[in-house]
């Protein structure tokens, strides 16, 4: 059962990722990324991290993707030029990607982490639920938590400054 769920979600995640980079229309790329994010949320659930899965669906697939859809609708699709600054970039890039994948896999799988081949230790029922994550965030990781809230505030202010319609910019 777990294998079926894993491979289904993995195929969904990989198909979504390939769709993002292969589809010509940016709107379809955004839709493919939503498929990818939902599949990843299922994988997070398989790894018994309920809170991360819920945050993935609510924050990413909900809020961030709506923002993307708005901007794609505003900017419009538009075709991409076929001009390449480096000759043969379209053929070299996949080779580089395959090399990167092989290198990452070899680096991780040949490491001496013995627990990699196992399912992980048995965990109690509350592993990864909102209460556990919230306790960790407000006790052990209070400083990163506050720093990330400051970062969010800065990003919101920065977006307003960037997208603000200035009179001298239109002249």
């Amino acid at each position: 059962m777990e294998e079926v769920l894993f491979f289904g979600s993995a195929i969904g995640a990989l198909g979504g990722a390939v769709g993002v980079i292969a589809l010509r229309n940016p709107f379809y790329s955004v839709l493919a990324l939503i498929v990818h994010l939902f599949s990843l949320a299922a994988l997070f659930l398989l790894l018994t991290s309920a809170f991360v899965a819920a945050a993935q669906v609510v924050v990413y697939a909900g809020a961030v993707m709506v923002l993307y859809v708005f901007v794609v609708a505003y900017v419009g699709g538009g075709g991409e030029s076929a001009w390449e600054p480096i000759p043969g970039q379209r053929f070299l890039a996949p080779l580089l990607g395959i090399a990167l994948f092989v290198e990452l896999s070899v680096a991780v799988l040949s490491s001496s982490l013995l627990a990699l081949g196992t399912d992980g230790p048995d965990v109690e029922a509350g592993f990864g639920d909102p209460a556990a994550i919230g306790t960790l965030m407000l006790e052990k990781f209070l400083l990163p938590f506050e720093a990330s809230s400051l970062l969010l505030l800065l990003a919101a202010v920065g977006a307003i400054v960037l997208a603000h319609r200035r009179r001298e910019a239109n002249a």
């Binding site: 995640a13 940016p26 990843l40 991290s49 901007v71 230790p121 960037l162």
Partner: protein, 99 residues
């Protein structure tokens, strides 16, 4: 499922995102590919958190999600600003900052 499978899948997704950044020209799609790479990192973090059996890696993943949201907000603000000035939305044409 053993943890290796998740790590290999994460490496595969990361490489897919990297290839996307190299072959696409539109800044919107490049931002989407950045999301792919950040999410691949998240998958690895959560898988390792499961492997060692404590939740700290999941807190890392949530913080990565916050950073990704900030990056999207600023990136989309830049794209809207570029569009407003009627500049081409193509990373090869926007090369004034190149050395």
């Amino acid at each position: 499922m053993s943890i290796e499978w998740y790590i290999v899948l994460s490496a595969l997704l990361f490489s897919t995102g990297a290839v996307g950044i190299l072959i696409r020209r539109s800044p919107l799609v490049i931002l989407l590919c950045l999301e792919l790479m950040l999410n691949a990192g998240n998958l690895a973090l959560v898988a390792f958190s499961r492997m060692v059996g404590n939740e700290e890696g999941q807190v890392f993943a949530v913080i990565v999600m916050v950073v990704a949201a900030c990056e999207v907000v600023v990136g989309l603000g830049l794209i809207v600003a570029i569009f407003r000035r009627r500049l081409p939305l193509n990373v090869d044409d926007l090369r004034e900052l190149r050395g």
